[in-house]
């Protein structure tokens, strides 16, 4: 997706994303002004809400955790040349896997249930991504359209299951019963309490460390391993991959499964880390935010860490903001996410030409 650039590497890697981010925030600021609020004040409130006090930080990192997983999921597919818009549906189905394990086996101790639930989330997420991957590789169906369709199918399927099958008996709201406590992933404040450190109560849980581990493993797998090498070759130049004797179809399918499994882990953070039951809305757009996270982070784990943190802060800060400023709702955050996707993903070269000119001027002197 990148074009040959005559900019220095650091400018392409750092300066351009930052400029694109600023452009997106600027437009958001204009909208805020338009509805009669002060964007600078809003920004301050948001930053304060996200990082200004321990509880805020906890929530920010909790959201960051899910975004790291869905961001990595989009990036994994991108490296194979695939645009996986299906993170939302894959996460949804992964939630089903987690729920089935928990509803069926949560009488077992945590060290049995939790790994099983983790595995189920990955298997279910991967399975939901496998079909579009298979259809792309073997039948040539366009992955973007298929994954969109699979989001809708997942939504219909899950609605049916939650309303008709998995609903807590006697309840009106479509949600499962609470999972047994053995299946809950320990909260960070609980872990800290064991060590004698007092932290505020937030949904931030041990899955966060799993996300950090996933970032490192992702880097090693994609850039330092034989598997990642074939993945990137297929993504960058399919003809060369065939020339090199790589099993292109298999690589595409495995990449989608890998992507789906990563998206699935986001469901673990939400279900076992926070809500401890499944409801209809638990994915809440996290799969789509993954697109923004990956694009902003240039599909690199380090970039994804930073952009997931940014989006975590946007989400948490935005929630705090909407308490202070009722006019600025969660939808304002969705608008900002959309703008960031637009500027960082589709208009990534917006500042290329002006920047290149600026650098030329500077080097001339």
């Amino acid at each position: 997706m990148s074009q040959p650039s005559n900019l220095p590497r650091w400018a392409t890697l750092w300066l351009m994303p930052v400029l694109n981010l600023f452009a997106a925030l600027l437009v958001s600021g204009l909208v805020i002004t338009l509805i009669g609020e002060d964007p600078v004040e809003c920004l301050q409130l948001m930053i304060n809400g996200a990082f200004g006090y321990p509880e805020g930080i906890g929530y920010t990192l909790f959201y960051t955790t899910s975004f790291i997983f869905t961001g990595l999921a989009v990036a994994a597919a991108f490296h194979a040349g695939l645009f996986n818009i299906g993170g939302e549906g894959q996460m949804y189905l992964a939630g089903l896997g987690v729920t089935l394990v928990c509803l069926g086996l949560d009488f077992l101790p945590g060290w049995v249930v939790i790994p099983l639930a983790l595995l189920a989330s990955m298997v279910f997420g991967a399975a939901w991504a496998f079909i579009p991957g298979y259809l792309q590789a073997k039948r040539g169906s366009h992955i973007v359209v298929t994954t969109i369709m699979f989001n809708f199918i997942a939504s219909a399927l899950m609605t049916w299951l939650l309303v008709d099958k998995l609903i807590m008996p006697g309840s009106q709201t479509p949600a499962t019963r609470l999972f047994a406590e053995s299946a809950w992933i320990p909260m960070l404040h609980e872990l800290a309490a064991n060590l004698g450190v007092e932290l505020p109560q937030t949904p931030l849980n041990a899955t966060f460390f799993l996300a950090l581990l996933a970032l490192v493993l992702f880097y090693l797998m994609v850039w330092r391993s034989h598997w990642g090498y074939t993945l990137r070759t297929v993504g960058l130049n399919e003809k060369a991959a065939r020339y090199a004797g790589m099993p292109v179809s298999k690589v595409i399918i495995v990449a989608m499964c890998f992507s789906g499994a990563l998206a699935g882990l986001a469901a673990v953070n939400e279900l076992l880390g926070s809500t401890h039951r499944m409801n209809l809305a638990f994915t809440n757009g996290i799969g789509f935010v993954g697109i923004a996270v990956a694009l902003m982070g240039r599909n690199h784990p380090f970039g994804i860490l930073l952009s997931a943190l940014l989006f975590g802060a946007l989400t948490q800060g935005g929630l705090d903001l909407s308490f202070e400023k009722p006019a600025i709702t969660h939808e304002m955050i969705i608008l900002t996410q959309g703008l960031i996707i637009l500027f960082c993903g589709a208009l990534e070269n917006l500042f290329q030409t002006p920047l290149a000119l600026a650098f030329k001027q500077m080097t001339k002197r």
Binding site: K239, A240, A244, P247
Partner: protein, 507 residues
Amino acid sequence: MAELAIELTGVNKYFGEVHANKNISFAVAKGSIHGIIGENGAGKSTLMSILYGYYQADSGSIRLNGQEVRIRNSHDAIARGIGMVHQHFMLVDTFTVLENIVLGAEQGVALKQSLQAARDHLAALNRDYGLQVDPDAIVGELGVGEQQRVEILKALYRGADVLILDEPTAVLTPQEADDLFRILRLLKAQGKTVLLITHKLREVLDITDAVTVMRAGEIVGNVVTADVGKEDLADLMVGRKVNLQLDKAPARLGKTVLQVSNLSLTDARGVKLLDDVSFELHAGEIVGIAGVSGNGQSELLEILSGMREASAGSVRYNGTELTTLQTREPKAAAYRRLGIAHVPEDRSREGLVKDFSTFENAILGYHDDPAIQRGLLFNRKAIIERCRRFISEFDVRPANAFRRSGLFSGGNQQKVILAREIDSDPQLMLIGQPTRGVDIGAIEFIHKRLMALRNAGKALLLVSVELDEILALSDRIIVMNAGRVSGELPAAQATATELGLLMGGHK
């Protein structure tokens, strides 16, 4: 002096730092066929793109029929009576001939009358120039020669007085080329001006009235065709005495490495891309496959390297039947393991990944090699060391293993590929277009390397559209035409004329 159709004065064009056209001045007489000749990258295409409005010249002037003009886009060019037949045809495959001809030159909002008018006009053009094509045929289903005629018709339909043809014979058989020349002469007789861009000397001598020779973006000669010979033009074009003769030690043939028998390939539409191809290849020899591109050579290489399945026939390699070989991995990987190396025809699209660093491309196809694995990960140090060795042994410049491959020149990219393939110590080396888009210095280097490989007892199969290259390197030459082997002869006895006849299927 006859009236001038085109007159260029001091035209310059830069692409960033590259000076693609330097101070170009020449004139073309009305009603003449004018050749523009030069090697790949001499700046011919850029110049024609300026004439057709794709690019704007940075300085200089263009006069058409004595009038100074500015051609801002192809629309302008067409309006001023310039028509262009591109090397890669500019046709919409899913449209009919008629729709393609009308496209962009419609009359009125509704198509109906435009199509009828075009149908009538086409009949007239057919009468005048003998350009038969079925107006209702779908263009994608026509042969190459016919598609080219549609391109010419398109230009004439728009009232072109000046017709630019960019390498028109690159994809044609000699008969088709002769037919094209007959049409061009008819056009000339009707007062049209033809600009013929080519790098084939014979064509220029056969058909043009005057020639402009370009080298490295500059004009190095404007001559009247009748006054010059082939050698003079070749010297002008290359800028030094061409000497492609290598020191060729007599071949010491070893055992049969490759035996291809009755190999055929039929595509989805039922067209025979390869038809009953048979030949042998021994250790210690280079067999050259000559032919106009698109006559089955590419498909042959694809099958022999395991990238494509044959429809019928057998390929025996060192006694192993390859066509029925059962493998768990893709065949291209299995063949490579058996000692078949492959330098692909399309270097930048197949042979390497442009966005990879050079060290990453140094293992493409050999990424399974245990020597570069370390546990679950790659042994990065070993890979980089291997790449550095390639760089020094093959004199790749700049000597930077981390530089992105796409930033290297064609010749240096090719050296990396060659180094990689030779390093695997193959028994059989398949080489497609080893010097396409490669500068002269690198050509000599690459040729010497290939010769050394042959002298070391390897079997080499060389596919090239450059006859000179085939003649210089090969011990034996196989000529292909329309998917068949049209002739096989020892290189020592082969002449360009004879090969040319075989390439056209004349024998």
